[in-house]
Symmetry: D2
Subunit: 310 residues, 4 copies
Amino acid sequence: MLTADAKGVFPIAPTPFRADGRIDENSADRMIDYYVATGADGCTILGIMGEAPKLDAEEALGFVTRCIRRAPKLPFVVGVSAPGFAAMRSLARASMEIGAAGVMIAPPSSLRADDHIAGYYAQAVEAIGTDIPFVIQDYPLTLSVVMTPGVIRRIITDNPSCVMVKHEDWPGLEKISALRRFELNGAMRHVSILTGNGGLFLDFEMERGADGAMTGYAFPEMLMDVISLSKEGRRDEAHDLFDAHLPLVRYEQQQGVGLAVRKYVMMRRGILNSDAQRKPEAPLSAAAKAEVDFLLARLAQRDPRAAERV
Amino acid sequence: MLTADAKGVFPIAPTPFRADGRIDENSADRMIDYYVATGADGCTILGIMGEAPKLDAEEALGFVTRCIRRAPKLPFVVGVSAPGFAAMRSLARASMEIGAAGVMIAPPSSLRADDHIAGYYAQAVEAIGTDIPFVIQDYPLTLSVVMTPGVIRRIITDNPSCVMVKHEDWPGLEKISALRRFELNGAMRHVSILTGNGGLFLDFEMERGADGAMTGYAFPEMLMDVISLSKEGRRDEAHDLFDAHLPLVRYEQQQGVGLAVRKYVMMRRGILNSDAQRKPEAPLSAAAKAEVDFLLARLAQRDPRAAERV
Amino acid sequence: MLTADAKGVFPIAPTPFRADGRIDENSADRMIDYYVATGADGCTILGIMGEAPKLDAEEALGFVTRCIRRAPKLPFVVGVSAPGFAAMRSLARASMEIGAAGVMIAPPSSLRADDHIAGYYAQAVEAIGTDIPFVIQDYPLTLSVVMTPGVIRRIITDNPSCVMVKHEDWPGLEKISALRRFELNGAMRHVSILTGNGGLFLDFEMERGADGAMTGYAFPEMLMDVISLSKEGRRDEAHDLFDAHLPLVRYEQQQGVGLAVRKYVMMRRGILNSDAQRKPEAPLSAAAKAEVDFLLARLAQRDPRAAERV
Amino acid sequence: MLTADAKGVFPIAPTPFRADGRIDENSADRMIDYYVATGADGCTILGIMGEAPKLDAEEALGFVTRCIRRAPKLPFVVGVSAPGFAAMRSLARASMEIGAAGVMIAPPSSLRADDHIAGYYAQAVEAIGTDIPFVIQDYPLTLSVVMTPGVIRRIITDNPSCVMVKHEDWPGLEKISALRRFELNGAMRHVSILTGNGGLFLDFEMERGADGAMTGYAFPEMLMDVISLSKEGRRDEAHDLFDAHLPLVRYEQQQGVGLAVRKYVMMRRGILNSDAQRKPEAPLSAAAKAEVDFLLARLAQRDPRAAERV
C-alpha cells in the first residue's frame, strides 16, 4: 500500500499501442520489466500521458491487471480520474483488489474556488472509499485548476487517505517550499511529494524538499541518478547529469507532442515496438523525429551510460 | 433512423435516480410513457442534463436498452460524447443495434480553432462509423467551444451522416438565420435544427427557422404547443402561451441548478418518484423549492392546461 | 459618499456615442436627466456595459465629469477596473475629486484561487487609497472569476472601505442568502447588495435579501416598482409587473448583443439619439430589431405605464 | 520602418522601475545603450514582459519617447495591445510620430473562432491606420487565443501592413514549418518570423526557418550568437552554446516569475539598478535568488564570454 513515505521514481507509464490501435501487450510486458530492472520505486499507469480516456472500461482494467501481474512487487498507482464517480469507484476498487498500491485523482477542469476543490476531493474519497490511499494530481497547466498550498493542505487534512501530492504546477518550486514549511510548522502532516512536468525542474525540486519524481521522461535512469546524487549532496554532479539531459527533457516536455516524443524515444531504445498512439493522436513530423535523433546523438556523447541504453 | 427532416419536440430526458443513487427504472418507464402520451416526436437520452458522465458503461447501455424497449417506435437520440473514441464507438454502435435513431456528439472543451473542431468531428465519425446519423451539439456556454456558422457548415458538408444541429448557442438567433441563409443560397445542404437552452428563446427561434426543440423543460406540452401555434402563424397566441411559462423557464434555465429544478417539477407532476441526482449533485435549497412552488402556482392560473398536469 | 446602507436602483448607464464614434454629450445629458426624473437612487457609469475599455483615459474622465456636473446630488459609482493599478488609481482619485460617491472594481479574469482574489482586492485598495468606498463586482459569467460567499466575506472583512457587492452571479439566489446568513450570524458586517444580470431574477433576489438593483434594463421604472412592491409585501403585484417585462428582460440579457438591445430601446424611448456603439461593436440585425419592436408592442399592452414612456 | 525582411534579435525590453514604483529612467537609458552596444537588430518595448498594462497612458508614451530618443537608429517595435481601439490608436500613432518602426498587436483573450480573430485584426488595422507596419503576437499560453497557420495566413493576406509574426506558440516548431511551406507554395507572401518563449526552442526554431528572436532572455548575446552560428551552418557549435545557457533559459521561462528572474539577472549584470516590478508584482524568494546565482555561476564556467558580462 502506498504511504506518505513513498520516495524515488515512479515512472508514468505510457500505454503501448499497435499501429491498428489495439493495446500492445508484449510492449507493455517489456516496459514493466524494464522499469523493474532499472530500479523504479513504483509505477503510475493510466495517467494523462497514459492515454487513459481513450480506453474503454474493460480495456483499462485489463491493462491494470496485466501490469500488476507482471510485477506484483512493484507499487502501482492507477489513475482513476473520471467524469463521474461511478466509473472512478469501479476502477479504483477493482485496481486495489488486483493489487494496486494506490490511486491518483485529478480535479475536473471546471473547479474554480477553494471550497469546490476541497468539496470535490471529499466526495471522491467518499465514492472510492476511505481505505484506498490516494494521490492528489496538481497539474494546472493541463487541468486548468489552480490549487494553492492552502487548498492542498485542506485536502490532506480533511482526508486521512491522502498520502501523496503529484506536484506538477508550473512554476512550482515555491509550492514545494510552502508545503514543507507547513509540515515544519506543524500545520500539516507529512505527505510524499513526487514531481512531474517531465522532470524539467527536478534539479531544484529535490533541493526544495521533493521526495522524488513521478514523470515519464524516457530515461528514468537519469531521474533516479539525479535524485541519488542530490540526496547525497553531490550538487554539481547532480546538475551536470541533469543538464546533459535537459535539451531532450525540454523537447519532450512540449504540451501535446510530448507523448509522441516519449514513445518515439522508448521505441528507439527498444522498450516499445511502436510509437503509435490511439486516435486522436498527435504524431511526430519527420522534422521532429530528426530533431529527436539529433538530441539523442548529442546525449550519447554527454552521458555515455545513456548511450549504451539507446 | 434520424434524418435531416426531423421536426417537433425531442425532450432531453433526465436519468431518474433513487435516493441511494441507483437508477430508478420505474420512473424511467413512467417518464418514457409520459413523453409518448404527450406526443413527443423523439427523445434524447444521456445528454448533459441526463447526468451521463456519472453512469458507468454498463449502466449507460442498460438505460438505453430500457428506454428503447419501452417505446420502440419513438426515435431515440443517444448522447455518446466521451473523452475517448473507444467509449464513444462502443456506446454508439451498441445503441444503434438496440434500435436508437441516432447519436449526439459534443466537442471536447479543449478545442479552440476551426480546423481542430472540424478535425475532431471527422475523427469521431470515422470512429463510430459513417452509417450512424449524428447530431452536432453546439453548446458554447457549457462546453466552451465556439462554432461559427462556417464551422458548422464545414462539419455538415464533410460528413454526410450529420443530420441535425442541436442549437444551444447563447445568444443564438442570428446563428439560426445564418444557417438557413446558407441553405437558401445553396451553400449548405438542409439539416434539422432543434433548439435547446431550456426553451428560453423558443418563441423567436421558431420564427427564425428552427424545426423544433430538443430540450428538457419540465412541461414539454408547452414546447409542442408553441411550435404548433408558431407554425400555424398564430403569433400572438404562441407568445402568450410562451410568456405564461417564461418565469419558470427562466428559473429552470439557471446553470448548475437547472437540473434540480427540472427533476423537482417532474416529481411534483408525478412523472418521477424522486428528484434525486447522483453525486456530485446540486440540490435545491428549501427556499428554492418554495420559489418553484410559487412559480407553479402562478403558472396554473395562467395556463390552466398546465395546472391539470401538476 | 456611498455607504453600506445604499438601496434602490442604480442604473448602469451606457455611454452614448454618435454614429462617427464620438461621445454623444447631448444624449448623455438627457439620459442623466431621465435617471434623475425617474427617481434613481444612484447611477453607475463606465461599467462593462458602459463600453469603458473603449474610451481613452481623457475621454473617460471627461464623461465622468459631465455626468456628475449634470446631477451633482445623484450618487455616482464609477467603474475603475483596469489592467493596471496606475490607471485604476488615477481614474478613481480623479472621479472622487469631481464628486463621485464611490468606485466599482472587477477582478481580472486570470484569478483562480481564493488567496489570489483576496490578495488582488487588498492591492487594489492600497492602490486607490483606503478612503474611497468601493463595490465588489461579482460577475463570473463574463469575468470568469468565481467568488464564493466565503471569499466575498474575506474581502469585506479585510477592507473596511468595501461597502457594496454588485451581485451578478448566475445562478446567484443562494449567494444572496449565504451572505445575509453571514450577517445574521455576526460572521460578517452588513454591506449593500445590489443585483445585476439585467434584472432577470430581481423578483426573487429582493425576497432573498437584496437591497435593490444595479443594472441597465432599459425600463428602470420597472426595477424601481418591483423593488417597492416587494418591500411592501405586495408579492403578486411585484411578480405581475416583473412578468410583464420578462420577455424583454430576457431578450436584453443575451450576452454580447444585450447592450445593442438596451441602446436600441433607449433610442426608441427618446432617451438616446442613436443606438451606436463604438467599435468593436455588436449591432442588431434587422430581424432582431423587429423582434424588439414586437416585444415593446406587447409590453405596451401589459404595462400601460411603460407604453406611455416609449 | 519595420519590413517583412526584419531579422536577428529584437530584445523584449523590460520597463525598469525604482523600488517606489516610478519608472527608472537612468536604468532605461543604460539598458537601451546596452542593447545597441551588443548589436541588437531592434528592440520591442511595452510588451507583456514590459509590464505595459501597469503604466498609464502618459507614462507609456513617455517611456516610448525616452527609448527612441536614446537610440534613434534602432528600430523600435511598440506593444500597443489594449482593451479598446481608442487607446490602441493613440499609442500607435503617437509612437510612430516619435519614430517607432512598427507596433505589435496581441488578440484579446476572449477570441475563440477563426472569423473572430481575423475580424479583430481587420478592425485593429482600421483603427490604427493601414500605414503602420504591425506584428501579430501569437502567444496562446498566456493569451488563450489559438491561431492556426491558416488564420495567421488570413491575417497576413487581408492586411498588407502586417510584416511580422512574433511566434510564441508552444509547441510551435511545426507552425514555423507550416508558415514557411505556405510561402514556398506561393500560398502566402513572405513575412518575418521572430520567435519568443524566452528562447527555449531557439536552437531548432532557426533550423525550421525563423528569422531570429524577439524575446527578453537576459543574455541577448547568446541569442545573437546562436542565430549567427545557425545561419553559418555551424550546427553543433550553435547547440553547444545554446545548451550552456539552457538551464538558465528554462528557469527564466517560468510563467509568472520569469520577469522577476530576468530583471534580477539584468540587475546582477549591472544593466538595471533594481529588479523592482510595479505592483502587482511576483518577486523572487530568497531561495529562488540563490538558485539563479547558482545557475549564473555554472553558466560562467561553461560560457566564459557570459562570465565577463556578469
